[in-house]
């Protein structure tokens, strides 16, 4: 059933994109600016419909479609959705919190999601990974990593110019 939902979502996205593609302006005889992506979308819609029909036909007889959120009770799925949220939160906080602080916290969460449960090892691991990457990228490769704001920015600058 989950596969049908995923393919259904892909189909909806393709229909939306096909509609959006009709708004792309055309310049003279060069019509492909609009019709190249539109053509791709139309073929995709056809293929996805074929696939969905096949998937639905393969379902056991008597299967009823109902809105069921019981998959959220499974621990693996919960961890997975938590990691989606965590990744987006990290991306949003990175420019404000700076690389060092945000990464240490992010590493702690990823370790927990990957099954680590000993706080001492988790903190040590997070700090070591963050420091190692900071050294490699900032000092070794001269890449400017996000500094954050306020005192975090001052600390980052101080660390960057340490070497």
């Amino acid at each position: 059933m989950a596969e049908i939902v995923f393919n259904g979502l892909l189909l909806i996205a393709c229909i939306v994109m096909a509609i959006v593609s009709t708004t792309i302006p055309i310049d003279g005889k060069d019509v492909l600016a609009r019709y190249w992506p539109m053509g791709i979308m139309i073929v995709l819609i056809v293929l996805l419909v074929i696939k969905l029909v096949n998937l639905i036909r393969k379902l056991p007889k008597g299967t009823k479609f109902k809105f069921d959120l019981s998959f959220l009770k499974e621990k693996g799925n919960l961890r997975l959705f938590a990691s989606f949220v965590l990744l987006f939160v990290y991306a949003a906080l990175l420019p404000y919190g700076g690389y060092i602080l945000t990464t240490i916290l992010f590493c702690l969460c990823v370790m927990w999601l990957l099954g680590a449960r000993k706080p001492g090892k988790m903190i040590l691991g997070s700090v070591c990974i963050t420091v190692a990457l900071f050294i490699v990228f900032c000092w070794g490769l001269r890449v400017s990593l996000p500094r954050g704001y306020g005192p975090l920015e001052q600390i980052s600058k101080w660390l960057e110019y340490l070497v």
Partner: protein
């Protein structure tokens, strides 16, 4: 020969040699780790090359690419678990030798075989690339469009199990290639007012997501069991294979090397198909077929020579025409384009030093690999004692930091996360990530050449057929389409017949 001499002059510098050694070590270690494919090894190592000189970056990445395939054979032999899918055939004869207490013999045949495969393919690559480049220089836009399109189509025809899924994946990749500012009319397409999308979907962050983040996400969903890699399960390295034994494998090595290289040239076929094909041919040609699968060194050599030879093969269409033959080659293409390397026929004319550096570093990396792999094999169990929550977090952070460092743009991390979520569900529902990546990498060029070709032919598609090269390429495409349909109906008829017999 002048190209080879130029390569030697470019590569034999202390810093380059040091980076090649580092690349081989990292490649072998990554390749041997479960869940880290050759593609992911390159993806994770790209971020180290941002501030490198292009020649050093080429040498380093070529070393990682060659060595990561070889690394997979270490765990295949020592633990009966292939580090990369391409080493699965090695288990069949490698592990029985370990059980007989001859781990050293199995490992030395595998490592020397890998190196030989790499060398054979590097030589064939050297010989084939230049004539192909000269041919490709004669292509006009219409023919370049057909080459890109054929490269994409071949992939779909090869994957016979999930044809519809592969088509869908390739088309999604092609669509993602259309996002951003149109190269002809400068009109934004599918950007939804977001200025970050005007440059399109940046390939590197998306690939980092598709491979590194997707792998971590699946390990978060289902925890990995590392108990099979405990030190107690590792075989001890014993006496290595003798020169006489290695010499007896010469025809196997040559056959598998040539076969592996040509399989590698076909887009989408790759190292895994090469190693299985070579193994099955070897079992048919063997004078003692009853020994195959029970610890025959010919089986190990056939698999390992072929899978490493495929790496060089995949570089031929990439270097000559700018069409990657595999996921890993697509990754190499993205990585090298960051350094301003122009893949395709112009490489020979405009940047011969880069082309020669690729050849020479692949040859050198394959030789260095034998010694470094043997050292790594001795300490490998120690590396695997690092808990996965540390390794997984390190991979995630390497991907995230490498992604940010690419353009210092937080939006790239968003692209990477979306790529990761896509990659996870793609893997789960058996879509084809290679097709999507090739679609994304080639999509923009395919559209560009088609539109440019049409403009030059005054928007008359049938004028594309005026030149025989296009007609030949189109003919190949038509034959493939017909073959696929005929094969599909024959298979379906066979299945129906079998079903009727069973009933």
């Amino acid at each position: 020969m002048s190209l080879l001499w130029l390569g030697i002059q470019t590569i034999f510098r202390p810093d380059v040699l040091l980076w090649i050694a580092a690349g081989v070590t990292m490649g072998v270690v990554f390749g041997a780790m479960p869940g880290i494919s050759a593609t992911m090894s390159i993806v994770l190592c790209i971020s180290f090359t941002y501030s490198m000189d292009p020649v050093v970056a080429i040498a380093f990445l070529a070393a990682v690419y060659c060595a990561s395939i070889t690394g997979g054979s270490i765990t295949a032999i020592m633990f009966k678990i292939p580090g990369t899918p391409s080493s699965a055939a090695t288990v069949l004869d490698g592990y029985p030798l370990v059980q007989k207490g001859e781990a050293g013999r199995a490992l030395s045949v595998a490592l020397i075989g890998s190196a030989l495969g790499g060398l054979v393919s590097a030589i064939i690559m050297f010989l084939l690339t230049q004539p192909l480049m000269s041919l490709a220089l004669k292509f006009n836009s219409a023919e370049q469009f057909m080459v890109c399109f054929l490269g994409l189509s071949l992939l779909t025809f090869i994957d016979s199990k999930n044809k519809v899924n592969t088509f869908i994946s390739g088309l999604i990749g092609l669509f993602l290639g259309t996002v951003g500012m149109d190269r002809f009319s400068s009109v934004p397409r599918f950007t939804f007012g977001n200025s970050n999308l005007l440059d399109g979907i940046t390939e590197l962050p998306f690939m980092l997501g598709m491979f590194a983040i997707a792998e971590i996400l699946s390990n978060i969903h289902t925890y990995v069991d590392f108990s099979a890699y405990s030190k107690e399960n590792q075989a001890k390295l014993t006496k290595l294979a003798s020169f006489k034994e290695l010499w007896s494998l010469k025809w196997t090595a040559l056959r598998s090397g040539v076969l592996g290289t040509f399989v590698g040239i076909v887009p989408g076929a790759g190292a895994t198909i090469a190693s299985w094909l070579s193994y099955s041919i070897e079992s048919k040609m063997s004078k003692t077929p009853e020994l195959m699968g029970h610890g025959d060194t010919h089986g190990i050599a056939a698999s390992e020579v072929a899978n490493n030879a495929a790496t060089g093969g995949a570089m031929v269409p990439l270097l000559a025409m700018g069409i990657p033959g595999s996921n890993a080659a697509a990754m190499m293409m993205t990585a090298l384009s960051i350094h301003g390397v122009m893949m395709g026929p112009m490489l020979l004319k405009a940047q011969p030093e880069y082309l020669s550096a690729t050849f020479t570093s692949m040859i050198l990396a394959n030789i260095l690999m034998i010694f470094i792999s043997l050292l790594v094999a001795r300490v490998f169990a120690q590396v695997l004692r690092v808990p996965y929550y540390i390794l997984g977090t390190l991979i995630t952070m390497l991907a995230v930091t490498g992604c940010y460092a690419y353009q210092a743009r937080p939006f790239d991390i968003i692209i990477m996360i979306v790529g990761g979520i896509f990659g996870y569900y793609f893997k789960k529902y058996k879509f084809n990530s290679t097709a999507l990546i090739l679609g994304l990498v080639l999509g923009s060029d395919t559209e560009y050449y088609l539109r440019r070709g049409l403009k030059m032919k005054k928007y008359d598609f049938f004028r594309f057929f005026e030149r025989p090269i296009f007609a030949v390429l189109f003919g190949v495409f038509a034959v493939l389409v017909i073959y696929t349909f005929v094969r599909y109906f024959i298979d379906k008829a066979k299945a129906n017949k079998q079903q009727a017999v069973t009933k």
